[in-house]
């Protein structure tokens, strides 16, 4: 009797599609190397295939676009695409020049900032694609190849994956450490770790070191978390908006019509607002990258 009820409920659920909670959870589950949602918080045996493939593909697309323009760049009258890229490059170069005063460092850091900006912009822009387009294509393909479509997970916004944003922040941290050592020397940097910010005194040394560690950790984690949080929240809001439209599909009443209108209006507003967000977040990430690397050049 009880099993019958469960079976009935399952059949009913399958017929009516996923519940709202199931819909959200399904959309927030990565396509990873295990095929299941990751159980533990940290598990380095798992790879998020969707984030990795989309971010790598978009990264390659971004740098190839830049390289395409760069290889054809002329000093004469530029085309529109070249002008657009030049505006970008000049913006990054100006910011880098204002923050990092070492011309030799800029040869590496400015391209780094450009890469970060363009790449993150591309990653974020995936948010503007229709929410269910890629997951639907993927689950259709997954089902056609004889698998359970309920396990066809796919998230196409890589910057809404903490792994991706934290990896970028860690990359920036590594660059910062490299410049700390390069500019100040290994001895100078170690001295600074124990002597700044409170001053060089044996009693203060551990406190200084603790502060420095906290600073590095806070910088890096906030750097990665800021981008992740913005994009994750943005994606979630898109999902909630999409739920309004999904609810309408089952109703034929006034409230159903309102839900449909709500989906259209809220979805448009949020998408337009997101054009600002994706650009702003890419810019903030780039600026913080420059600021952190710039700080690595300064001695306390």
């Amino acid at each position: 009797m009880a099993t019958e009820n469960v079976a009935n409920a399952a059949a009913l659920g399958a017929a009516q599609g996923p519940t709202q909670g199931e819909y959200i959870v399904h959309h927030l589950t990565h396509l990873n190397s295990t095929g299941e949602a990751q159980k533990s918080i940290v598990d380095f045996s798992v790879l998020n295939l969707d984030s990795f493939i989309f971010s790598t593909a978009l990264g390659i697309l971004a740098v190839l676009l830049l390289a395409y323009v760069a290889q054809r760049a002329t000093a004469g009258v530029p085309g529109r695409l070249q002008s657009a890229i030049e505006v970008l490059v000049e913006m990054v170069a100006d910011q880098a020049k204002g923050i990092i005063h070492d011309a030799k460092s800029r040869l590496f850091v400015a391209p780094l900032a450009l890469t970060v900006f363009v790449w993150i912009f591309f990653l974020n822009a995936m948010d503007l694609l229709p929410l269910d387009l890629f997951p639907k294509i993927w689950s259709t393909y997954y089902e056609a190849s004889g698998h359970d479509p309920h396990h066809a997970f796919l998230r196409i916004v890589p910057s809404a994956d903490l792994n991706i944003t934290l990896a970028l922040a860690l990359g920036v941290l590594i660059v910062c450490l490299y410049y700390n050592i390069k500019i100040k020397g290994i001895g100078g940097w170690v001295h600074e770790l124990f002597a700044a910010p409170f001053g060089s005194h044996p009693v203060l040394a551990p406190i200084n070191f603790l502060m420095q560690m906290i600073e590095f950790a806070a910088k890096t984690i906030s750097h990665g978390m800021r981008l992740f949080g913005n994009m994750y929240a943005g994606e979630l809001v898109f999902m909630l908006i999409a739920l309004m439209g999904a609810s309408w599909a089952g109703m034929h009443s006034l409230s159903g019509g309102l839900l449909f209108a709500g989906h259209v209006i809220a979805g448009s507003i949020w998408a337009i607002f997101h054009i600002l967000i994706i650009t702003l977040q890419a810019f903030i990430f780039m600026m913080l990258t420059l600021v952190y690397v710039g700080q690595a050049h300064e001695s306390h």
């Binding site: 790879l47 000093a75 004469g76 490059v89």
Partner: protein, 156 residues
């Protein structure tokens, strides 16, 4: 928001893309920008030079025009002077010529007068002879009294 190996994969991709950008994207674009900036600077400098040269040229042309005007004024003045001179000379010459013509005419007239007087004298002499002949038809021989006749002729 679970952490997994994606982190390391992304980290590696990150540095590869940064390296790629540093190698193949940044240098050509900044070079194009610098070259264009140089081109524009050169163009502006050339424009300035052109302007300066134009100024010089207009100054020089004004100078030439001024000189030309001066020269033409000189020429005009000279020409006027010369014309007056020529007129004066012509006047003098004309006067001389006129004087000469007048002198010639006067000489001719005098000659004519002399000749006329000669003729008149001859004719009067002939008339006197003819008259005397009529009076002295018989007594006077023209040949014998030629001396007298000449004397009369001289007396006229």
């Amino acid at each position: 928001m679970n952490l997994n190996a994606t982190l390391f994969a992304q980290l590696i991709v990150f540095f590869i893309l940064v390296w790629f950008t540093m190698k193949f994207v940044w240098p050509p674009i900044t070079k194009a920008l610098d070259d264009r900036a140089k081109k524009i600077a050169d163009g502006l400098a050339a424009a300035d030079r052109g302007k300066h040269e134009l100024e010089l040229a207009s100054k020089r042309s004004a100078e030439v025009v001024r000189e030309g005007k001066e020269k033409s004024a000189d020429v005009l003045a000279n020409a006027e002077k010369r014309a007056i001179q020529i007129i004066e000379e012509a006047k003098v010459q004309a006067k001389v010529e006129a004087d000469r013509i007048v002198a010639n005419a006067r000489g001719e007239v005098e000659q004519e007068v002399v000749r006329a007087r000669e003729q008149l004298r001859d004719q009067v002499a002939a008339l006197a002879v003819a008259g005397a002949e009529k009076i002295l038809r018989k007594e006077i021989n023209a040949g014998a009294h030629a001396e007298i006749l000449v004397a009369i002729k001289q007396g006229l």
